[in-house]
Amino acid sequence: MVQILSAKQAISKMEDGMTIAVGGFLGCGCPDMLIDEVIKQGCKNLTLICNDSGFPGKGVGKLQDENRLSKVYASYIGGHPETGKQMQTGEMEVILTPQGSLAEKLRAAGAGLGGILTPTGVGTIVEEGKEVIVVDGKQYLLELPLKADIALLKAHKADEKGNLVYRKAARNFNPVMATAADLVIVEAEEIVKAGEIDPDMIHTPGVFVNILVKGGSQNG
């Protein structure tokens, strides 16, 4: 059963120390309103799973600005100097993960797989501490599943059943993260009645979604 709640009600389910997966790529497709609410409600010591740590003052970067993070899984942290700084000083653990491996670790968690085998990172420092498995003479790294307590996502359109449609490059990590969290909260630019979205045009089936929040600005 999908609930339609306010951002305040939705984020009240978040607790300190949780692992959160946040959709978006350098701010595009990031649930800005939900992030603002996390800041407002004071949640801290969060583990963030996101493609990147954003930019200062923007989207997911605000969690970094406000020092709410204790650990980050990301492929890119070059947009927010504070993430790199805290990684260097050891204040915060940052697990840099190749972008494709990050997506597949989440997909594995969401699809009930025990991990995935990828050639990405073989012979690099990404290999450190990981099992190397040879299939047909080729080396692969065993990348383990990565799951969040809560996913904070952004959709263009949702129906009351939680079915989601994204727009253009704002899709990015949102669909895969929808599968890989215990509680999935979606900020949708528009919420429509069941049946108003053609079932063939749905990107994320509502089965993955728990809470819808109306918000976000529209474009196009």
Partner: protein, 220 residues
């Protein structure tokens, strides 16, 4: 040839390597310049690893779409025939060998086709983003870079000493001085830039170079 002219020469030379009917991924910076010089009779589409194929030119200010950015976060358009997808599909396209060619910058390349382009120990690390997946997955890996580092040291080595992005994946290196191909026999010097001598290239390169018998001047 000044620095800007050299960059254009590199971009033009690499553009000639692209094959009609294929999908290509260009890295940020100099590689992106290649898109401007694709011969008119060659029909290639460019992938943006954040989630679409069919990167078009930057939009006019009034046509800017917050949901349509490239992998560097800059506003772009999507050309007719383009398509959008999520990060997991995007990197399936990349690792699965569906990208014919990728063009990337480098900090170091060596004669075995090893590539280092993502971190310098002790310095702020931006992260590998999608580079490790691209280099492992793309059919052909072309490196676009200046032959020498800012301090004058060579970037083409016998063996990379910076942390690797991937092992044995580079196919072609195009610099402001030369075009070199990685072959099973070693690194072959095939073309030299106008006004540059073979001797100068050899002196600016640590890697062992096999001098191609019919060495040509880079023509663009």
């Amino acid at each position: 040839m000044d620095k800007k002219e050299a960059r254009i020469m590199i971009a033009k030379r690499i553009a000639r390597e692209l094959v009609g009917g294929t999908v290509v991924n260009l890295g940020i910076g100099m590689p992106t310049l290649c898109a401007s010089y694709v011969p008119k009779d060659i029909d290639v589409m460019f992938q943006s690893e954040n989630g679409f194929i069919g990167i078009g030119p930057a939009p006019k200010a009034e046509e800017m779409d917050k949901d349509c950015v490239n992998a560097g976060g800059s506003p772009v358009t999507i050309l007719p025939g383009g398509c959008c997808f999520d990060s997991s599909t995007s990197f399936g396209i990349i690792r699965g060998g569906h990208i014919h060619t990728t063009v990337l910058g480098a900090l170091q390349v060596d004669q075995d086709g090893n590539l280092a382009n993502w971190m310098v120990p002790g310095k702020m690390v931006p992260g590998m983003g999608g580079a490790m997946d691209l280099v492992v997955g793309a059919g052909r890996v072309i490196i676009a870079m200046e032959h020498l580092a800012k301090d004058g040291s060579t970037k083409i080595l016998k063996k990379c000493n910076l942390p690797l992005t991937a092992k044995n994946e580079v196919d072609l290196i195009v610099t402001d001085m030369a075009v070199m191909e990685v072959t099973k026999d070693g690194l072959v010097l095939k073309e030299i830039a106008p006004g540059i001598t073979v001797e100068e290239v050899v002196n600016s390169t640590e890697a062992d170079l096999i001098i191609f018998t019919n060495i040509e001047t880079i023509s663009v």
